[in-house]
């Protein structure tokens, strides 16, 4: 399980950005970007149209049809309770994307606020917040998950909590760095000279300059969120059965790996597709739009 990408990402110097084509076309012109978009679209559409794409019940058992290999009726086969794996994978996508959306939003906003406070506020507050962030980051993510779930019990909210705790410091650090450099920028000094109070400077002058890099950071963090959710569900620390999450499908597959290989393959497949897709997309976004975001650990 990888920790937030913002932690230890080393950037590749960008391939030359030839052409002045518009945003989407630039992304598509890079094969990795095109592949990333394709995979992401696949996952998102699968999640949205899960009900339409299959007619099976994701939690409906059919004990006479256990461990069927992939076929016309069951695109990915069936699991140990006869449930259609393809359907469960599609519904699992909903969970993965929901967690990604919610957790990323919370981390984004939280990191934005705390980062701005750290960057713009008094030194002692900055030092204190930095210490808190470093302390949070010193927990290996799985350990954090184990500890928290021991205390609050397994649930989707627990997953969101773990993700937020693990990713928020990363956002906050980037915001803090940007805020500190913007603090000394001319237009900020000008605004202060004109008497603008801090509560106006931050949202009006500083924040707009932060949103862009943060969005790119968020797109690069999504695969991490998906990984944490799947990992926690795999360990039984996330959604409770019979709700299908990619991690729990994988866990079932793992438990019965001697009976049939297909459930394990089916569980891992969407995770691979989603993480590769979002990572390719995020990498290309960063290369094309903000190569400055390289952060060498």
């Amino acid at each position: 399980m990888s920790a937030p990408l913002s932690d230890a990402v080393a950037a590749t110097p960008t391939r030359a950005n030839t052409g002045r084509r518009g945003g989407l076309l630039r992304l598509l012109s890079d094969p990795m970007g095109a592949l990333g978009i394709a995979l992401v679209v696949l996952v998102v559409l699968g999640a949205i149209f899960a009900g339409v794409l299959t007619s099976h019940n994701p939690i409906g058992m059919a004990l006479g049809e256990r461990f069927l290999p992939p076929g016309a009726l069951h695109l990915l086969g069936t699991d140990q309770l006869g449930r259609d794996l393809f359907t469960r994978v599609l519904y699992g996508a909903r969970i993965a994307l929901t967690v990604a959306l919610i957790a990323t939003s919370i981390s984004f906003i939280g990191g934005l606020i705390l980062g701005m406070i750290a960057g713009y506020g008094p030194r002692w507050l900055d030092s204190f917040l930095l210490l808190v962030f470093d302390a949070l980051r010193s927990f290996p993510t799985v350990m954090l998950a184990l500890a928290l779930v021991t205390l609050v019990g397994p649930s989707l909210s627990a997953v969101v909590l773990v993700v937020v705790l693990a990713t928020l410091p990363g956002y906050a650090r980037v915001v803090r760095a940007q805020t500190m450099s913007l603090k000394g920028a001319e237009f900020v000094l000008a605004a202060r000279a004109l008497g603008a109070p801090t509560r106006r400077i931050l949202p009006v002058h500083i924040m707009p300059n932060l949103i862009g890099p943060l969005l790119i950071l968020a797109s690069m963090d999504i695969p991490v969120v998906i990984t944490i959710e799947a990992g926690m569900s795999f360990l039984g620390l996330g959604v409770r059965p019979p709700t299908p999450s990619w991690g729990s499908i994988l866990n079932d597959g793992f438990s019965f790996i001697r009976e049939s290989a297909w459930p394990a393959i089916a569980g891992g497949l969407p995770i691979v597709v989603a993480t590769l897709g979002f990572t390719f997309l995020g990498e290309t976004l960063r290369d094309q739009f903000d190569p400055r975001l390289r952060k060498d650990a």
């Binding site: 230890a8 290996p140 205390l151 695969p223 990992g231 393959i265 891992g268 060498d296």
Partner: protein
């Protein structure tokens, strides 16, 4: 160097302490009765009360923290609920297995990642470079537990090349190594990608510096320039990165131990969560966190020492 070292150690101690304080404080915020939640519905009221007293849950946060730290300093991290042995001992018994896993994970990452990164930097812009870039990104993206299960499926169940369970016969090094190959690969593969990218970026940056130009102007062979002149400088940030990698590998080790049924700290803690062995969970989290902080500290110090400019300010 001395000043840097002292500062860094102090910071590490502070961060660890803060992390542990945060953990203890969080226990206060469990809705309801912590004893009930932690011991489960089957615990009797007497058991719960005993637990509360034992854990000091009936006292203020500050006292709890002080108690914990004063005990921790003497090595007492609580008692295993199931076996009634000190938590520290329980964890220490499992530690060597996990350490071996992490060490070999680092080994894979360094052995594969550094040469790949070097190669990509020297062949910048070529097809090989792009392929390595995509491979690196892919290795970073795919979670280690998926790699673990797929490799178990393919190399063990399907092909039977490697054993599926356990850490091997004690005393038989060869057998133990065989049992280590796949789990350590699963743990370390993601970091092959991170290292390859970092080494590549670092090398490319170093190769544009003036002293490299001067080395070329003096007719030094390309091989000498790459390995003796450039890599030596470029490798320094990689050491820091590896320190951070340990944290990820601890997480990866948990999955690897479960998937490959290996003994280790991760497996221990996972079982402890299921059996509601609260002291082991909390104690284990604290130990692994402290270990992680120690590793990043050591990595930073090594990196500082490798740079003569920092080293000589001793």
């Amino acid at each position: 160097m001395l000043v840097y070292g002292v500062k860094r150690i102090g910071l590490a101690v502070l961060i660890t302490a803060l992390a542990l304080i945060m953990l203890i404080t969080t226990i206060q915020f469990i809705p309801g009765d912590p004893a009930a939640v932690l011991l489960g519905p089957l615990a009797t009221p007497e058991l719960r009360q005993a637990f509360r007293v034992e854990m000091g849950l009936d006292q203020s946060v500050l006292i709890q923290i002080t108690r914990f730290f004063s005990r921790a300093v003497t090595g007492d991290l609580g008692t295993d609920v199931l076996t009634h042995r000190p938590v520290l001992l329980t964890v220490a018994e499992q530690a060597p297995f996990t350490l071996a896993l992490i060490a070999s994970g680092i080994g894979w990452a360094a052995l594969l990642g550094i040469p790949l990164g070097c190669f990509a930097a020297m062949r910048r812009g070529s097809l090989a470079d792009r392929v390595i870039a995509v491979l690196s990104v892919s290795m970073i993206a795919v979670p280690s537990f998926v790699i673990a299960i797929y490799s178990l499926l393919f190399f063990c169940v399907r092909l039977g090349w490697f054993p599926t369970i356990g850490a091997g016969e004690p005393g038989d090094l060869g057998d133990q190594l065989r049992h280590l190959v796949l789990p350590s690969l699963a743990v370390g593969l993601g970091w092959v990608g991170y290292l390859a990218r970092m080494v590549r970026a670092s090398m490319l940056e170093v190769l544009t510096e003036n002293h490299i130009r001067m080395a070329r102007a003096f007719g030094l062979r390309e091989r000498t320039i790459t390995f003796r002149y450039a890599l030596k400088l470029a490798i320094i940030p990689t050491v820091v990165l590896l320190g951070i990698g340990v944290g990820h590998m601890i997480s990866g080790a948990v999955f690897a131990e479960i998937v490959f049924a290996r003994p280790g700290v991760g497996r221990l803690m996972y079982d402890a969560v299921i059996t509601r062995n609260y002291p082991v969970v909390i104690g284990g989290v604290m130990i692994t966190t402290a270990f992680y902080v120690l590793c990043t500290l050591v990595a930073d110090l090594i990196a500082a020492w490798l740079d003569p400019r920092v080293r000589s300010s001793l």
